[in-house]
C-alpha cells in the first residue's frame, strides 16, 4: 500500500517534535515537586505527543487504533493511585500515609517517592483519558474512515 504523506515539512517537524515532547513530559512528571508542573501537566504533554502523531500521519493509513487498550490504560491510573495508598496500610500507616512506606531511605524522602507514585498514576490516567477523548471525537477507531485527520 502506497502511503502518501500530508507534507514533508509536517512529517519532519513531527519526527523532531515527538521525542522532545516525551522527554519534556517525563521531566515535568519527575520534577513536579520543585517547579511548576505535576501529574496532570505531564499527562497532557505526553498525550500531546500521541495526538500529534495521529494528526500528522499519512492520509490513507488504516486507522485501526488500540482504542480499547487506551481505555484500559485510563483505568490503570487510578489503580496505581489506589495501590500506592493501600501500600502503607500493612506497615502500620493509614491510607496514603507515605511515612510508613517500606523504603530504605529517610522519612522525608519516603514522602517524595510516595508523591511520585501518586503522580505517575495521575499521569497515566490523564494521558489515556485525553487520548481516548480525542479518538472518540474524531472517530479514528472507525476502520471505514480513510480520510486524513486535517
Amino acid at each position: 500500500m502506497k502511503s502518501t504523506t500530508n507534507s514533508i515539512i509536517l512529517e519532519v517537524a513531527c519526527r523532531l517534535l515527538i521525542p522532545v515532547l516525551i522527554v519534556f513530559g517525563v521531566y515535568v512528571l519527575v520534577h513536579g515537586e520543585y517547579s511548576p508542573g505535576g501529574g496532570f501537566q505531564a499527562g497532557v504533554v505526553l498525550a500531546l505527543a500521541v495526538v500529534l502523531n495521529r494528526v500528522m500521519e499519512p492520509a490513507d493509513t488504516k486507522k485501526g487504533y488500540w482504542t480499547f487498550k487506551i481505555i484500559a490504560l485510563a483505568g490503570m491510573g487510578p489503580i496505581i493511585y489506589l495501590l500506592t495508598g493501600l501500600w502503607s496500610i500493612p506497615f502500620g500507616g493509614n491510607f496514603l500515609e507515605y511515612g510508613h512506606l517500606p523504603l530504605a531511605v529517610h522519612e522525608a524522602e519516603r514522602h517524595l517517592y510516595g508523591i511520585l507514585f501518586v503522580e505517575i498514576g495521575v499521569t497515566v490516567g490523564v494521558m489515556a483519558t485525553i487520548i481516548s477523548i480525542f479518538d472518540s471525537l474524531g472517530k479514528v477507531g472507525d476502520p471505514d474512515d480513510h480520510g486524513s485527520l486535517l
Binding site: 517547579s35 511548576p36 496532570f40
Partner: protein, 122 residues
C-alpha cells in the same frame, strides 16, 4: 485617586467586560460551536478575576525561594490552586460539549440553535 488605583479599577472593568462579552456571545450566536467558545471566554474571565484577587504588587511567585521565610512576601497561592482545578474542569467541559455537539449534528443534521428549537416544537 492615584494612578495605580485607577489602573487597578481598569483591570477589574476589563475582566468584567470580558465576562459580559462571553455572556453576550452565548446569547447572541445561533451556532452552537460559537456558543461553546463564548462559554470558554466566560470561564477565562472568572479565572483571571480570582488570580487578580490573590495578587499583590511586588509579591514573589509562590514557589519557595531559599532564605525568604516571610509569608507576606509571597503572592497568595490559594486562588492559584483553586483555578488550576477550574482549568482542568474547563478542558473536560470542552471535550464533553464537543461530543454532545457531534451527537446533535448527527441527530438533527444542523447546528443552528433556532432551527433545532423550531423543529423540536413541531
Amino acid at each position: 485617586m492615584t494612578m495605580a488605583v485607577f489602573f487597578s479599577y481598569v483591570i477589574f472593568w476589563l475582566i468584567a467586560l470580558l465576562y459580559v462579552s462571553g455572556f453576550f456571545g452565548m446569547m447572541e450566536h445561533h451556532h452552537l460551536v460559537k456558543k461553546l467558545m463564548a462559554m470558554n471566554l466566560m470561564q477565562t474571565a472568572v479565572i483571571l478575576f480570582f488570580l487578580v484577587l490573590g495578587q499583590k504588587i511586588g509579591g514573589v511567585t509562590p514557589i519557595a525561594v531559599p532564605g525568604l521565610t516571610d509569608p507576606d512576601a509571597y503572592v497568595n497561592p490559594l486562588p492559584q490552586a483553586l483555578m488550576l482545578t477550574a482549568i482542568v474542569v474547563n478542558l473536560s467541559t470542552t471535550g464533553i460539549a464537543l461530543a454532545f455537539l457531534i451527537v446533535i449534528k448527527k441527530h438533527w443534521n444542523t447546528l443552528d440553535e433556532s432551527e433545532i428549537m423550531r423543529r423540536m416544537d413541531k
